[in-house]
């Protein structure tokens, strides 16, 4: 493989990893900070894509779809937390799995009723169309670069909020020692609600942003869900930085796996996860003590 091809594949792997990070970051926040397993994470990703399709088909504006999708996801997240998730804190993971699996079924049916089973596409925003020529044959779509930059921006924003704002401090304190933080007078009801809503928003954002590339189809949430869990487990539950590292590793493993080990490419990702877990059972940046 010559250097240029290697560089392009590297770019492919990193870009894929960044999108995985965007979606998985929501999962790790909900799983790590709220202690809730949300199997419906992939369904919200799919829902984000369908909402993007719906809004762009009516208004023709991708930006409206972005803003609208985020707003809808935020509100849905707040509502779901208030009505359902609230009763799941501290409960057996199996109960959470059952509930979130129920969400998947309901979301699928709702999507079926509203949009049917067809495959749809969302147009790339005009100024992001076009491709940058890399070789005489191959070009790289500008939109994919834009998506990568967007994911980096979101990563920076999450990092900034968690590290340098008051609410980030509360979230971190709650993850480390909830009882003590409560004893210090911090009320978690609102914090939990916002964290869950943000988790849902991140999943939906992944779907919205990827819709022009990936097209919008019913099964899109399933594979994303499994990969998101792999990323979260690999990086360490609750660690956003870990999710970033995990996502990049998986993006690269998947890309190079497809090229170098086509027969085994479906297991490179899981093999990587197994190896990392042997080395670090709690994930790369996971907490050492349970």
């Amino acid at each position: 493989m010559d250097f240029l091809t290697f560089a392009v594949q590297l770019l492919n792997g990193v870009q894929y990893g960044l999108v995985l990070f965007l979606v998985a970051s929501g999962l790790t926040l909900v799983f790590g900070i709220l202690g809730v397993i949300n199997l419906a994470h992939g369904a919200f990703y799919m829902l984000g894509a369908y909402v993007a399709y719906w809004i762009t088909s009516y208004t023709g504006s991708f930006w409206l779809a972005l803003l609208g999708g985020v707003a809808i996801a935020f509100v849905v997240g707040l509502l779901l937390e208030n009505v359902f998730i609230r009763r799941m804190y501290g409960r057996d993971h199996l109960a959470q799995v059952l509930l979130s699996f129920g969400f998947i079924l309901v979301i699928d049916e709702v999507r079926q009723i509203l949009f049917g089973k067809d495959v749809h596409s969302v147009a790339t925003p005009d100024f992001l169309r076009g491709s940058i020529p890399l070789t005489d044959v191959l070009s790289y779509p500008v939109y994919r670069l834009a998506v990568s930059l967007f994911c980096l921006a979101i990563a920076a924003a999450i990092f900034f909020v968690i590290r340098y704002t008051r609410i980030g401090m509360i979230v971190r304190a709650g993850a480390e020692n909830r009882e003590m933080t409560r004893a210090l007078g911090i009320r978690f009801d609102a914090v939990n609600r916002y964290v869950f809503a943000v988790g849902i928003v991140l999943a939906a954002l992944g779907g919205i942003v990827i819709a022009p590339i990936s097209t919008v189809y019913p099964g899109m949430g399933d594979s994303m869900l499994i990969l998101s869990f792999v990323v979260v487990v690999l990086g360490g539950i609750g660690s956003v930085a870990g999710a970033a590292i995990g996502a990049l590793l998986i993006g690269l493993a998947d890309t190079f796996g497809k090229v170098f080990f086509p027969t085994f490419s479906s297991i490179t990702v899981y093999l990587l996860m197994a190896l990392v877990l042997l080395w670090r059972p709690n994930g790369i940046l996971g907490k050492r003590e349970v």
């Binding site: 492919n12 191959l138 097209t215 890309t255 490419s265």
Partner: protein
């Protein structure tokens, strides 16, 4: 295929209006199993000669790693190598993954004369879009099994323009049966008919022939089967009859995506009969 096995054991009449698995009219063929759609081999074998005649000598294939993918590409490979062409590389990715970037980059490195792809549904939409976005369509022509562009053109948009595929149907086939069918279908469902609609339509037509032959007496099963075996249907897809293995004998058409649909270019091969390898019916 599980259904096929059960049908064989219980001798229940099984009509297959869409599934393409070669084995259903191959090693697992049976008198009570009829297929009105296609075998995975059938629409792709003629594409081999088409691509060879178009001047392509070194072709790369790409599909999902599952039975349908292997059988569809297998049919193409058989036809292409028989005509004298050479397969540069067979690219596969796990089903149903849709992250094609790594393999599209690989195709750009390989620089084959053309690419033959089999995907269906959401994967087909994404692949064609990704292929075009990577600029490959300009220099490496994209061909495929008809499923690459059937039911997916609206979502694919202009990225599908010019993609040539072979299938046992084309949206604008100029025969009276097709014209009548499309009109009636549009009126009844306000949707445009496609190959899936035609296959369903033909399944009912075949059953009708079987039942008419026995005056509705379903118990006279052997006569029903005999009538269906000998059926010659004037289908929207062209002349339709059935092989000894109960697979359709039908024309395969070369189509090109133009004006938002798969337009008929030429008959790639007429009265294509799947070899039904392994079937012992009527042997």
């Amino acid at each position: 295929m599980a259904m096929v096995k059960v049908a064989r054991d219980t001798k229940m009449m099984l009509m297959i209006p869409n599934a393409g698995a070669n084995d259903a009219t191959g090693p697992l063929c049976a008198p009570n199993i009829f297929r009105t759609s296609f075998s995975n081999w059938q629409p792709n074998f003629p594409m081999g000669k088409v691509m060879y005649d178009a001047g392509h000598r070194n072709v790369a294939t790409i599909t999902w790693r599952y039975t349908a993918g292997q059988e569809q590409v297998g049919g193409f490979k058989e036809g292409f190598t028989k005509a004298g062409g050479k397969i540069v590389e067979d690219l596969v990715l796990p089903f149903p993954e849709v992250e094609f970037q790594a393999l599209i980059t690989r195709l750009a490195t390989l620089k084959p004369d053309a690419v033959f792809a089999f995907f269906a549904g959401g994967g087909a939409v994404k692949f064609v879009k990704d292929y075009e976005a990577a600029g490959l369509k300009r220099t490496i022509p994209l061909y495929g099994s008809g499923f690459l562009t059937d039911g997916t053109i609206e979502a694919q948009g202009p990225s599908a323009d010019g993609v040539k595929t072979t299938l046992h149907y084309a949206d604008n086939l100029d025969n009276p049966a097709n014209k009548a069918f499309l009109e009636a279908f549009k009126k009844k469902t306000s949707q445009d008919g496609d190959i899936y609609a035609v296959q369903g339509f033909d399944t009912a037509a075949l059953l009708d022939i079987g039942l008419a032959a026995v005056g509705g007496d379903w118990a006279a099963r052997d006569k029903v089967v005999a009538a269906m075996e000998g059926a010659k249907i004037d289908s929207p897809r062209g002349p339709l009859s059935f092989s000894k293995a109960h697979n359709p004998i039908q024309n395969v058409y070369l189509r090109e995506v133009r004006n938002g649909r798969n337009e008929f270019v030429s008959i790639a091969q007429d009265n294509v009969n799947d070899p039904a390898r392994g079937c012992r019916l009527g042997a």
